[in-house]
Symmetry: C2
Subunit: 425 residues, 2 copies
């Protein structure tokens, strides 16, 4: 407890200095971090070896071990990321609007840092670097709490980042790593309202649910994505195919990949065999509704494909597979499609493929999600794809930030008011 | 539990309709509400009599009884408030920005309602009307949970508002009142994430703390204001006096009134007797630090004034008096003043009175509060004073909304993306 509170105090104190720091100094520190990471590659890789060995002993999955692994290439990617953050415009200090009231006071909205951000994440050590860079750029101090699997790597990286700050005259508390990896440390962070302004959990849905359920510090929820593509009856079939294949297979393990396609009944007989053939080439397993199955049984010639087709269950509609699996449903109408998304979607990213003006507008208006697409892949829900530079996560909640969060989303505003003696009447 | 959930379901369902409703229909409903409130004045006053009698039996304070009381005048004020909300621009549907990415997709940020708002408040029945009006205008459904003292009044008012909605073709669930007034009902609301998007507690600090500590639904914290005026050594004394008198006495029971003044040591000998004389005229009790006391003992001629001067205690610095009491402290420097505000302030509204350019900028930059003033009264922190029209409260947190929250702050954004077949590479 005392340990976490002392980290909180350091970060809070540092945040006051960071909040008024000029951009040049922040950028210098970011570039120094990048240099020091590369210059200390060997130390990082050594530390990472300890984590990798422990991970193998513990029997971590190959996927998890891959996320944990640090290589020279990955270090230079992280360093490159920091340099890109240095190149971004500084959001802090911008006066977004300023207006004059009838009594002569001028009221302005000025962008300021949030203060201290708490980032709670899992195995990937690159989050340590990404989060530290984005928080520093936006004038925030950060308290990092990574997973126990990566603790040696994280300690090594965090020390390098802290040293870089100090070398550039920044307060040491700008970046604090919680080196205790038990659950209790997280529980304390969740209620550390005095020192942490906002918590951002990054990881699986279990982690996110725990944080939301137990935090008294305000939380920005990120990431869980049960995304859909609706193929309207007027869809361009080739376009629908390209977008579905992209949204499902280009990187299935991420939140903006799709998990279900909804196909309008009037196009289903032509479209389903076409897309099933395509997805078979990518070894995507289909979990199909009864209507889809009937059509596929009548239309698919290559019987091999049926090895990749299974009956869908009601649980599938809520599933975030993060894998080469896609649920398939025939819907009666666009209203049906919207209702299905309403019921099972996670308000992340949703797409319609259509030629119809009214349906495109209806979908854009009525779907309640962070990002709604017409004739484009859901994979675009991403800070760099939207032009924000790096992102700290994708918010699926409605408060404060929705969708990809770049440095701007790590700020808040304060009102600044200039008067010459005005009082309220 | 079932009761609250059913209210939640109704509101959620209604919110989907409200979110895409045109402004004309919403405004018609707001005006109908205003008319129906006035036309049903007698029924409201009758219902209010029951609450007033029960309140007297329970021994509620005179101040509380006054907040509870409904008169013809107060009803017409509420109706007028609704008409003003109808006149505000509709924030929903505005596309704040839209830009084109190199691959041709167009990405837009569109303002949309939050969904379902839960408002938890205390004795004032006018909150029922204000909140319902602002939520409707911003396309949100609302679940109202007022205090038990006002339950009969609130039931009568809420029914009139609901009927007005239905008369104008709006869904009945647009406005839901929780008629159960025990603590358990609130506890259920706090965790009703499936149906409530955001909670806004309005009331004393006890209520707000309870909501923040126990809610899993995202909360916007409002209102507690321990505000300061710092009188810099270069201050115009008459201006400082006018602003302090205004910020303390114009309406001491509200959150943007000041509770402490900090006076620079180099102006203290001249300023303290001057302001003490002024505040004595307004029957303001001063709680003064030792330095202030020494000066006042040497300079105040009218010994009567000392009846209104007491020694300050350390607890006073944290006190939100909401009354004709003001703490007074002599500080060594602007840094001292900023440190004091940092330590004891609630990040609401803070003012400096100065002629010095660098000190004005330093105060604006370094004070961490929703609103920071130079040479103007803290009483301006208010939606109508800033030009937002009505407000639903003043946020003292940093996420989502900070400072006065008008209809715009009751919205979020969604990204709308127009493509012609783009996929991610």
């Amino acid at each position: 407890m005392d340990y976490i509170v002392s980290k909180g105090k350091n970060a809070k104190k540092a945040s006051k200095i960071l909040s008024i720091l000029d951009s040049n100094t922040k950028n210098k520190a970011l570039i120094r971090m990048a240099e020091n990471l590369v210059n200390n590659s060997q130390a990082i890789i050594e530390a990472n070896k300890i984590d990798m060995e422990k991970g193998k002993e513990k029997g971590l999955s190959q996927a998890l071990l891959d996320r944990l692994l640090i290589t020279e290439k990955r270090i230079s990617d992280m360093a490159e990321g920091l340099r890109e953050v240095a190149d971004l415009p500084d959001p802090v200090g911008e006066v977004i609007k300023m207006w004059k009231r009838p009594n002569g006071i001028r009221v302005g909205q000025k962008r300021v840092p949030l203060g201290v951000l708490g980032i709670i994440y899992e195995a990937r050590p690159n989050v340590t670097v990404d989060a530290a860079g984005l928080c520093l750029k936006s004038g925030n101090a950060v308290i990092l709490r990574g997973g126990s699997e990566a603790i040696n790597t994280n300690k090594c990286i965090a020390q390098i980042l802290k040293d870089s700050c100090v070398q550039c005259g920044l307060p040491e508390g700008a970046i604090e790593l919680i080196e205790v990896t038990d659950r209790e440390a997280v529980n304390i962070m969740l209620k550390l309202n005095e020192y942490i302004d906002v918590l951002i959990p990054r990881g699986g849905s279990g982690l996110i649910k725990t944080v939301v359920a137990n935090a008294t510090v305000p939380v920005i929820e990120t990431g869980v994505g049960n995304c859909h593509v609706f193929v309207d009856e007027s869809a361009d079939m080739a376009m629908a195919k390209d977008i579905i294949v992209n949204a499902k297979t280009q990187r299935p393990g991420v939140c903006n990949a799709i998990e279900t396609i909804l196909v309008h009944q009037n196009i289903a007989e032509r479209f389903l065999p076409y897309i099933a053939n395509e997805l078979y080439k990518h070894k995507v397993e289909l979990r199909v509704c009864q209507d889809s199955k009937k059509i596929l049984l009548n239309t698919i010639e290559d019987k091999e494909i049926f090895n990749y087709i299974k009956d869908v269950t009601i649980e599938d509609w809520s599933e975030e597979y993060l894998n080469f699996i896609l649920a398939v449903k025939v819907v009666q109408s666009i209203e049906d499609a919207i209702d299905h998304i309403d019921l099972y979607g996670t308000k992340h990213s949703e797409a319609i493929i259509t030629r119809d003006y009214f349906n495109s507008e209806k979908f854009l208006n009525e779907i309640d999600a962070a990002a709604v697409y017409v004739n484009a892949s859901t994979r675009f829900t991403d800070g760099s794809q939207y032009g924000f530079g790096a992102e700290i996560g994708i918010s699926t909640q409605k408060l404060h930030a929705r969708g990809p969060m770049g440095v701007e989303q790590l700020t808040t505003i304060k009102y600044i008011v200039y008067g010459d003696g005005q009082v309220r009447i």
